[in-house]
Amino acid sequence: MSRAAKASSWGRRKTGRRSMTLYAEGEPMVWLTGGALGVALLMIVFMVLYVGFMGAANFWPQPIVELATARGETFLGEVTRRQHYRPTVAQLAGVPPEIRTVVQRELAQHDGMVERRLVRTGNFDLTGTRFHWVSGYDVIEEHRPEWALVFERMEWGNFYGYPRAFTVDGRLVAELPEDVWERFRGTHSEVRDRWRARKRLETRDIGRANREQEQARLAWVEAERGHARGRVGDEALAAARSAYEETLARVRQEHARITEQIRELNRENARYAILVQTVDGREKALHLEDVVRAYPANRLSPVGKTGVFASRWREYLLDDPREANQEGGVYPAIVGTVTMTLVMTLFVVPFGVLAALYLREYARAGPLVSAVRIAINNLAGVPSIVFGVFGLGFFCYIFGGHLDEWFYAARLPAPTFRKGGVLWASLTLALLTLPVVIVATEEALAAVPGSMREGSYACGASKWQTIKRIVLPRAMPGIMTGMILAMARGAGEVAPLMLVGAVKLAPDLPLDFSNWSGTLGPLPTGPVHLDRSFMHLGFHIYDVGFQSPDSEAARPMVFTTTLLLIGIILALNIGAMVLRSKLRKRFMTEAF
């Protein structure tokens, strides 16, 4: 090649280069793909932030306002919402003549819209309503009274009013607001302690006595059934019967003793009451026992508000619900959700891993295996309610029916397993999440390098030894990923649970450390009561949000419960992820 030719070819390349810039250009797909991701993230972040804010702010104590309207009404309560609306002609016709001009000017200014506030006025037992809309133009006077008190009650919801007197045994002992409040604070916590002691007696001690009686009765029924078939002699039957009667007598005594204790506690608690007056002048005596929490909202310092906030969160996380789940805690639902998810994991992971092992390691690749794989993937697309129906029909009625016949015959006709319960809910969800685990496990198994398997075989390991010692440990992080996905999916599922065991209000917890008599047929399961129906956070959200008598009051609860459910799923996932990263560090470090 001549020198000139070389130079020209070099020069051409140079000119070609000069037309380019260092900046990347002409990559429209970056914007398209990045934009799609951005929009998706934005929606998720917005949703999480919204739920987080609404849920977390729910328990912060709000100030109490007293509003006097031109119509002569007064309202006392918390402002929960504001909105602009267009009043109808009929509504405007009711406006008193003296403020009509003001209203008309305001309407003209704001294009026919006016502001109104939703005031939570409580006092449902007196007024028959909990909320009032108050239009901005109606208000002629507004202030925050110092001694307005909020009472959260066991029944009838909140009470808003002014303290008038504190009574002990019907005698007035304080009348000034400061004194009344001081007496209330001094007495309330011990009254609540007694109430809690009473509740413990009612649930735990009476429950234990009843259980004892029930067990004796079952033994007797069992003996009678045996006798009818000629397997139990007359003497044994008589012994069982007398044992039952003995127990019955003892339980009756126990009952009498507990009832006496309860009566004692009630008597002491009934002595204390606080006399309160509503904003429209009606008086009501509140028994201290019925008051969950009370605070002078407008006198609270930030520290005091934080105290109320913390106390409400504690109640929410650790107490039973009240007022048709609209208030109180969700502790049973937390326990139910976590128990169900863990039992589900216990079922789905071993089954899924074994199935995936067969598919990937043992089955000979062919059309049948491909068909099975496709079927498994399609299983993930079946509507979850279908799994619920299947669970109800197959697990509850067929499986549970047989379990009852074989192991719980003495309790019939009351069903033990032939109804919704944790076990059937867990199994149904295990079925639902099985494809997730199988697919993730298969991928993890496929990712184990063939060289490792060959190394193991070359050492003289059998197939199962290779799987157990090399393949499974190496695939463990991937299997954990499948487990995490399954748990997240299972914990958030609601529809099938409605059919197989989630209930609005469960009398007992599925995980009960005060009662170690749980059984599954012949197997003892200790504190896990697999036959019990349970409360579930997801179902709780549906129930409170859409089935409660007062959706306005339930609204904040829906947000808080959603936040909690997301938090629990996050916690379960983070736990599993920490475990996974530990395993990954152990098995996956590559050095070169």
């Binding site: 070359a458 050492c459 003289g460 010692r469 152990r586």
Partner: protein
């Protein structure tokens, strides 16, 4: 001796006339006709440990090995060389029946290890593999500690005696010239070792069960020259104690480490004899061409 061979290799291209010699033998092989391998009498004089008897192997319908007949001398290093795809690795993997894992493989013929047939019906493949150690091209330590890697073959036999395991671990790691480097971190993950150390760990694992034959499938191809040197020294040290069968792409390596060399081409053994004979005085022009780098 080795030096002379190196010189021969360096002279590649000098001895020939420059044109590629058309070979009647290679042409016959390519036509698929049977060709008798050139086996030096020096091999026949050795005491054999493994006899390969007219061994053929097919992947599906493609025949990969054609009537291989070889005697592997006891306590010596035998290298197999040849161009890519000539069947060296396949032959090596047939010795411990690792090819059984591939569904489509069919075989004919037999191999005899110390008088016992490898491919006879009813042979326990797992027992067979325990009598051989294998080192692979890419080091494949298991995802467990260094200690557990070395004693793996004992573990799967159910050995639990801590003293026995400790002794085997130390002996094997010393045998693989790795003991001094890892003796303080036996319980750490084997995956944290360097590439060369990993490969020596695999050798330690392979000799832990005191195998009758040690199979090495291009053990140095993924290593740098220094690590390669260590492994080659190690092969020298292991020689005598173990019979070693090594597949290599690297002719210098074959010349450096082996006592016997088999040249393979298209699934056949072309020439088999003492290493110095193969490299310096090959009987066939094809071998001469290959070892001097004119083809392949």
């Amino acid at each position: 001796m080795t030096k002379e061979i190196m010189q021969t290799l360096d002279r590649s291209g000098v001895g020939g006339s420059g044109r590629s010699r058309s070979s009647e033998r290679l042409a016959a092989i390519e036509r698929g006709e049977p060709v008798r391998p050139e086996v030096h009498p020096s091999v026949e004089k050795e005491q054999g440990v493994l006899d390969i008897v007219d061994f053929c192997l097919w992947y599906g319908t493609a025949q990969a090995l054609h009537d291989i007949a070889m005697k592997i001398p006891k306590g010596k290093v035998t290298a197999m060389i040849g161009p890519s795809g000539c069947g060296k690795s396949t032959l090596l993997r047939s010795v411990n029946r690792l090819n059984d894992l591939i569904d489509t493989v069919r075989i004919r013929g037999d191999m005899v290890l110390n008088g016992a047939s490898i491919y006879a019906p009813g042979v326990d493949v797992i027992e067979l593999r325990k009598r051989m150690g294998m080192v692979f091209q890419k080091s494949n330590p298991f995802p467990m500690s260094i200690y557990e890697n070395v004693v793996y073959s004992l573990r799967i036999d159910g050995e639990r005696n801590r003293k026995t395991l400790d002794a085997v671990c130390e002996r094997s790691l010393r045998g693989a010239a790795l003991w001094e480097e890892v003796k303080d971190r036996l319980q750490e993950s084997a995956l944290g070792l360097s590439g060369g150390q990993q490969q020596r760990l695999c050798i330690a694992r392979a000799i832990a069960a005191e195998p009758e034959v040690l199979l090495m499938d291009e053990p140095c191809s993924a290593l740098d020259p220094i690590a390669t040197n260590r492994i080659e020294e190690l092969i020298h040290e292991l020689k005598g104690e173990y019979t070693i069968l090594i597949v290599t792409h690297n002719m210098q390596q074959a010349a450096r480490v082996s006592d016997f060399t088999a040249f393979m081409y298209l699934g056949r053994v072309i020439e088999y004899g003492r290493t110095e004979a193969i490299f310096q005085r090959p009987r066939l022009v094809e071998t001469q061409d290959y070892v001097t780098g004119r083809f392949g």
